[in-house]
């Protein structure tokens, strides 16, 4: 079975600072990887996904993530955050040919302060 660990439950940063949100996964088979974002009082929307190929994936709003197979990680980064990036971020995995469900991490709440 797969599992996802988001190492930080809360990350406070100042505006225009860089940020990294960490995600590690556990799986004995290859996986697809996702980052979703949830703005206050809204549903989740897809930020980016990794299927195969290049390990650096670019998403919306200037975010990118790097897949590291040896470290089973998929960390999310942004070089300079804005107040509007304040949200909760969820890492998720699915398995090719698997059950079609996503396994989510518990989320990381990013707060960007002025």
């Amino acid at each position: 079975a797969q599992s996802v660990t988001q190492l930080d439950s809360q990350v406070p940063v100042f505006e225009e600072a860089p940020v990294e949100l960490r995600c590690n996964y556990s799986s004995s088979v290859s996986v697809y990887l996702f980052w979703y974002v949830q703005y206050p009082n809204q549903g989740l929307q897809l930020l980016l996904k990794y299927l195969s190929g290049s390990t650096l994936v670019k998403g919306i709003n200037g975010f990118e993530a790097e897949f590291n197979k040896s470290q089973t990680s998929f960390h999310l980064r942004k070089p300079s955050v804005h107040i509007s990036d304040t949200a909760e971020y969820f890492c998720a995995v699915s398995v090719p040919g698997g059950s079609e469900k996503l396994v989510f991490g518990k989320g990381t709440k990013l707060t960007v302060n002025p």
């Binding site: 439950s9 697809y32 996702f34 979703y36 009082n41 809204q42 549903g43 989740l44 929307q45 897809l46 996904k49 299927l51 969820f90 699915s94 090719p96 040919g97 698997g98 079609e100 469900k101 996503l102 989510f104 991490g105 518990k106 989320g107």
Partner: protein, 114 residues
Amino acid sequence: DVKVTQSSRYLVKRTGEKVFLECVQDMDHENMFWYRQDPGLGLRLIYFSYDVKMKEKGDIPEGYSVSREKKERFSLILESASTNQTSMYLCASSFYGRAPYEQYFGPGTRLTVT
């Protein structure tokens, strides 16, 4: 654009009431999901449906049931609401058999049971 809608954004119900949460998607998706989201616990899958009249229990089905009479509509039913079912409920949908099984989410229903 994929659209997943949920019947209410906010709902207040009394203990013991029967509660219906409705979800409708317009993308002809076969798979539909109900999650509940609680602080610190992330998203937990309640039920999953991969076809009309088909359903599968998720991780926390106790106290809930579901109905899928039409492909586009998936209902979550709380037979007798209790205060520990106060939560944010999220509906999602995806295509069957189409990797990477990316899910599209509705805006959520924040349910308070008093």
